[in-house]
Symmetry: D2
Subunit: 304 residues, 4 copies
């Protein structure tokens, strides 16, 4: 199958379920809302070694937010419930509470909500040291917590869904520059899809991984050597076609399978518009990791 | 003492020693270097609950970097050595390794280096799965690790110093907007000082804390209620003068006491140029927390 | 009338008709589209002395653009038809043609179009030096013009409407910082309204003017001294109320009266949320300049 | 001659003298200084059809500016003295005066100054309508002009030098993406050189021109068809080597020949580090246009 003359391999991404929280961060001005969203998103490229996955989903307009202020929607995800519960709270405590003029609201659609994280027993509430109060605001139950620049408002219950992680595709190109431009273009396109987030910085991953290691057996994850063009001559099972010198991967997670598929479709289509792209494929683990497979040929249907 | 007609309280910031690593992140283009630096800095406002403190110190020019590419200098700090060692590596593994075209170098001045973190035994090296090689490059010992977009280079030894944390001052103003502008101006100025970093997003903290809690005795840190104007009428030991409605705090850490003092001086001077600022003071714990005190009157000497 | 406790003066903005072109600039990546839009917008704060008014209206999504690439919508306006015709072409020739990977399309809604500027007889077409070709693309008639990085595509006919200029309101605040934050918040809000643009950099004007001069009789426009708090004691007809130290003005033009009114409503509402704002009013010339008046009380109806 | 394995053609850029003004724009915060600099720079890619050339030279630190505030250095250039005089004033009047909290200072080194533009007889001074005053500030003679947000300060005499225009080089690459990345990297590097500016948006020109036209004899400038790969088969005197599909040009002007040469050297060196670049050359007119030639081999000396 070809899209814009670029070969789309007949393979699939392998997704698995993950817990995801979705919050709205608002502030007095758009740039302080962004500063908070970036801080709260940071160090969120992957959950191994680190504090859960996170990504900025989209800008929220002043006509859409409860307090009429500019904002950003942030998603945080982790496969383990306890870890998600811990890090969603920690990311708000460290990435939102300290930032001038911010507030935080639940942004999980009610119909997708599987359970709520309650702010009551968390360090966010205890930060108030007894001066905090539960109040009703904008038809929501929020905590009103004193901060040096005024009251910080945070919704008391933050919804969590069982979403989808592992959406991905690989872009193989003839030069590093062409491949990177295609990856950037794909990430630009995916930013416009609702309910999904890309955990990597700038939406692009240079360091694709395989589970475990060939040489280092105990390693959790090591370089995806079959897709490393720079060592293609040393890798027996290399997947690098002739004429390809670079690979980038786009990861996309989201609240639903539909939104992740839509993001993959839009991203792949955009990537194929850049000259020098040779192949689009995807990472999977032969069905061992995840139960739900996303076929590239299915998501690209009618793009030919 | 007054600077630009703003009262500087005769008090001090209370600093303590902390372990700090300082690395240089470079990339093909300035914006990918920045994307990596922001991701690696993220969730770095404070070390409680989270993955160490971190901040972007400064832009590095192409004429200054080993590989002649644009870059940013990042500092990571933690009071506990083991934690710093873990999170410096984790921040590179998750914030630099995945980002297109990046490399990472040691940027700790040799004369300040107290020990080195070796990349050899870490997940960064094992990521190479046996394809990685130690090489000499730019007169440095680096690892050359295959990644999907080419080789990732990282210096093998990253220097750590015993630096200074806890530099701070508080800006009290007559309106939230004036106080925030003063804080932003102060942070702009401090960004120009070498060897220091501000852990908070945008350089400004709205959520100053006190150690422990009055009501919640078990809490690690709670709102700095004496400086919360919004509850001044409920706080017995309020420190809010008449006419003040807002407080922001600037935190600054650094490799040396001199650089932290210089940053405080420049930041305070800048803050006092904004109309509506009423008082500059600092947080301390009566000498219980840190051994080295930075007197505001000393750092502001000759600014009157 | 009060909105969020801020007095809205019972006055009006005085609008006049102006010729406006509206184009869509696309590029391979969002940031090159933005670089082009900013260059083409520049020096567009006002038409006196300069090259017409211009402003970026909004971001265009990849699902909305003819070529499926990221883009920005730019408006250019001038009261005189010949001037608009000249500068719309010049702004494209100098702000879009030179920028890597760009294309330009007509974005004027057909039902509003009063006439078309034809690219045929302009320096943009002649730039092709005979190598250019008229082609059909995306169901539009475009010129295909060779450039060093490939073909530049531009729609052959760019629609012009008779739109509305002179939408404005003044924000008076107790401190410069509060007034500036309110102005920034208002501009943030107005950026979300379709079909309007703010010609000033950042959307905010510090240098409001009056027509002509009191002292310099020949001047086209001079400082709006009744609203200059810094000389209130020297201006007989000062309009500065007690407690006000700063004024900012928001200008908004647009394709229709409705969209300009909507922008003013949203902007005023947003400005009043910032503490320290004392009065919202508007500039007019007693009906001498423009025929269509926009009453502040009318646009703020039901906001009380 | 080869630099990083990229062929450097043995040719030259042809420079000519041009009048240049250099001003420093400061503001309360860095982002308002930047908003002003961008507006004042806009529509400055070339002087034909338009309002002179302009470019942001560099960021100015708070420790370097007369008023201790953050700033940017802007250059404006034109071959004709009268045009430069007009547009330097117009760019300040329209790009600096209206922007919140700005001030403008002369930044032309005294030893390079050939004459001064006096603000006295210009619309900037008359904007004050008699309320303006000449004062001494920061050891400079400035006008203090009332604006709605306070006083606007502008130095009374702005120095002009006879500088150098026409510095340039062409980057030819195997793919558009590689060529664009190389151009971006070159522009990143040149931004670090003092006393020079790049007039194009983002520093990169896609629309190189030749003087006059082959088909359209009356045209002032038309597409540089010998360097358009997309029509190489139709252009008799094409200069596109086999394997090249894209060309970008970097223009650089500056206060002195030395600084322009330094910028070209640094930019070329940076461009050659990107894979896929095939040839660096330069535009000239056989010595007809300019008297001072800059040899590529000379500026690249010792880079081999």
């Amino acid at each position: 199958m070809k899209v814009n003359n670029v070969e789309i391999e007949d393979t699939y991404a392998e997704t698995f379920s993950t817990y995801i929280g979705r919050i709205l961060i608002t502030a007095s001005t758009r740039r302080w809302a962004l500063a908070s969203a970036q801080e709260a998103k940071g160090l969120g490229a992957s959950a191994t070694m680190g504090p859960a996955e996170a990504g900025i989903e989209q800008e929220a307009q002043v006509t859409e937010t409860p307090d009429g202020r500019p904002g950003y929607v942030l998603q945080v995800g982790h496969r383990q419930k306890e870890e998600l519960n811990y890090w969603l709270v920690a990311r708000i405590r460290k990435g939102v509470v300290p930032v001038p003029t911010t507030a935080a609201f639940n942004a999980m659609p009610r119909e997708l909500t599987q359970y709520y994280i309650e702010i009551d027993g968390t360090p966010i509430r205890y930060f108030g040291d007894g001066y905090e109060e539960p109040v009703n605001l904008y038809e929501r139950e929020v905590y009103k917590i004193p901060r040096m620049d005024g009251f910080f408002y945070i919704e008391r219950k933050l919804g969590v869904t069982k979403g989808v992680a592992g959406g991905n595709f690989l872009i193989l190109g003839e030069s590093p520059a062409a491949t990177l431009m295609a990856a950037e273009v794909a990430a630009d396109a995916i930013r416009e899809v609702d309910y999904v987030f890309m955990p990597c910085a700038g939406g692009v991953a240079a360091s694709g991984t395989k589970v475990g290691g060939k040489t280092y057996k105990d390693a959790v994850a090591t370089t995806n050597d079959p897709y490393c063009a720079c060592i293609a001559d040393r890798v027996k099972d290399t997947r690098i076609p002739k004429g390809v010198s670079c690979t980038y991967e786009i990861f996309v997670n989201g609240l639903s399978l539909e939104s992740v598929k839509k993001a993959m479709r839009l991203g792949i289509k955009a990537a194929t518009t850049v000259g020098g792209v040779k192949l689009i494929t995807a990472c999977n683990y032969g069905g061992k990791l995840g139960k739900t497979l996303i076929s590239l040929h299915e998501v690209c249907r009618d793009l030919e």
